[in-house]
């Protein structure tokens, strides 16, 4: 199993959700996040004083998938998240040792 994590722009959430559903993903977790990449946030002006706001609002989407689906799913997320502008975010996957469905106790791929 793999855990796919995507840190993306908040306004792309709906597109990504739809794309994941179309792909057949059963569940996902969404968290509000903040951070910056190479572009380092933005500038705000208050009475002429400029403030650099490093941490930009993002959302973090996490999905557990079977190994075979991982690469394809990453592409799905990337395509749905892309706007072509700076700050589109990142997607990565990490191996997962085990997963358990809390209600039934099922383990591994059955728990997905």
């Amino acid at each position: 199993m793999k855990l796919i994590t995507a840190i993306v722009k908040p306004h792309r959430l709906d597109e990504i959700k739809e794309a994941l559903q179309a792909f057949g993903v059963q569940g996902l977790t969404v968290t509000e996040a903040s951070g910056y990449g190479r572009q380092r946030g933005h500038t705000e002006v208050y009475r002429g004083a400029e403030y650099t706001v490093d941490l930009v609002p993002k959302i973090r989407i996490e999905v557990l998938v079977e190994d075979d689906d991982a690469e394809q799913l990453i592409d799905v997320v990337v395509n749905a998240a892309r706007t072509g502008k700076i700050g589109d975010g990142k997607v990565w996957s990490v191996p997962v040792e085990t997963a358990v469905r809390v209600r039934t106790g099922e383990r591994g791929p059955d728990a997905l």
């Binding site: 705000e44 002006v45 208050y46 009475r47 002429g48 400029e50 403030y51």
Partner: protein
């Protein structure tokens, strides 16, 4: 000069006017609303951790100054003149010797009404100072400062400017509703105090962004609304339309100042900001306060526009000179007050509030010189005395909270409260109730369906 305005009092002894009395009671209530309005204006501009302290620094003035005003403030400001510097009338002490139908000096409203109207001015003036001291002043020391400052600065200066026999009043300085006595006075005091107590921890290093611009807008809107009472009420009645002229001038100058500030921002920084709109409006209100009773509506537009532009430029001075005027009391109230007071010398049309004409209306430089003297006197007196008062408090009981407390947030230290609860759904430390059985609820029914 429109007929009848200045001759009315001379011709017949005035009788109590129910209309004017009602009008002035409403104006007094409007001015009262300015102090909580100011509290929101300032409260939104500070960081989350010092919101309540900022609100309280304004709000407490309603308590302290009200009591002092009744005890002796009204007597010092508006009692019988002593040496053109202060007043004193034992009848006014505790407002004890005033009959409820006794009229204020040549006007058609009771002394009591005049006293409460002026009280509201006395309340908001020290509150204005607090914006410069955000995040770092002990609440007890601030309360003491207000009491001392009102006593030795505000009450006497109000006498100079408005009291019969006061030296600026007798000289002919025009301050319709408080450009010198309120705004220059508070702005100069703010500068005096911050020069003594110093900067906030992290000034020019940490971002100190306003935590709630909607709160700032709410406060600015309440100020604007209340200011109609502040300005239009300052003629102490409206039999002759001067109050209405002042109402119009207040509106147009404020509008022009807001637009000027926004235009400056758009050109200089590329965006018209919410804080700029609120600040521009306040700058316009400040500037029209001394001048609105003597200029035309077109003059008011010019005064507002100049004030909006100059105040927008002036708020940057603190970074240039390195003094921490946290919420720009100097930049908006001192500069705005000076602009409005000096411009009377240019824009006074003669015949509205007084016969004096400004430079643009053929009056020569005479009025301008008087205005400059008034500005300089109040500015210097307030600056020096406020700095001395702050220094005395700073060296005795201390004016500032500790650095640790300042960093962790003054609300918790000084008020044992926080403005907002960020612990999720209002939960936090409250004991949990037992979770009720879910059988029979729609959610449980749906869950069963899914399980099946």
């Amino acid at each position: 000069m429109p007929p009848g305005i200045l001759t009315l009092a001379a011709e017949e002894a005035p009788a109590l006017s129910a209309a004017n009395t009602g009008f002035m009671l409403i104006c007094s209530a409007l001015v009262m609303l300015m102090t909580p309005g100011l509290a929101f204006f300032y409260g939104g501009m500070v960081r989350v951790k010092s919101t309540l302290n900022m609100l309280m620094m304004s709000f407490v003035s309603l308590g302290i100054v009200t009591v002092l005003w009744v005890l002796y403030g009204f007597s010092v400001a508006f009692g019988t003149d002593i040496g053109s510097v202060v007043g004193w009338s034992s009848d006014y002490v505790g407002l004890s010797g005033i009959g409820r139908d006794q009229l204020w000096d040549g006007y058609t409203i009771p002394v009591f009404v005049f006293a409460v109207f002026q009280l509201m001015f006395a309340v908001i003036t020290p509150a204005l100072i607090s914006g410069a001291l955000a995040d770092r002043v002990k609440f007890g020391s601030w309360a003491l400062f207000i009491a001392l400052w009102a006593t030795v600065v505000y009450f006497p200066v109000a006498h100079w400017v408005w009291g019969s026999g006061g030296w600026l009043f007798e000289m002919g300085v025009i301050d319709f509703a408080g450009g010198t006595a309120v705004h220059i006075n508070a702005g100069a005091a703010a500068l005096g105090v911050i020069l003594v107590i110093g900067k906030r921890v992290g000034f020019r290093k940490d971002p100190m962004r306003p935590h709630s611009l909607p709160l700032v807008m709410l406060g600015a809107a309440l100020l604007w609304f209340g200011w109609f009472g502040f300005n239009a009420g300052s003629w102490l009645g409206n039999d002759d339309g001067v109050g209405a002229v002042m109402f119009v001038n207040t509106q147009v100058a404020t509008a022009a100042a807001m637009l000027a500030w926004l235009a400056y921002e758009k050109i200089r920084h590329g965006a018209c900001t919410t804080l700029g709109a609120a600040s521009g409006a306040v700058a316009g209100l400040v500037a029209i306060t001394p001048s609105g009773g003597s200029c035309s509506p077109l003059g008011a537009i010019a005064i507002g526009a100049v004030a909006g532009l100059l105040c927008a430029m002036a708020v940057g001075l603190k970074y240039k000179f390195g003094y921490d005027d946290s919420l720009d009391v100097v930049g908006v109230h001192l500069v705005g007050g000076v602009v409005g007071s000096v411009l009377v010398g240019f824009f006074a049309t003669g015949g509205v509030q007084s016969d004096a004409k400004g430079l643009f209306y053929g009056g020569g430089a005479d009025q301008l010189v008087k205005q400059v003297v008034g500005v300089a006197a109040v500015l210097a007196y307030s600056l020096v005395v406020s700095a001395v008062l702050a220094l005395i408090i700073h060296k005795t009981i201390g004016m500032r909270v500790s650095e640790d407390d300042e960093i962790s947030g003054i609300d918790q230290v000084e008020h044992a409260e926080t403005a907002y609860d960020f612990s999720g759904a209002g939960g936090g430390t409250a004991p949990r109730k037992a979770v009720p059985a879910t059988a029979g609820t729609p959610a449980a029914a749906q869950q069963k369906k899914v399980d099946a």
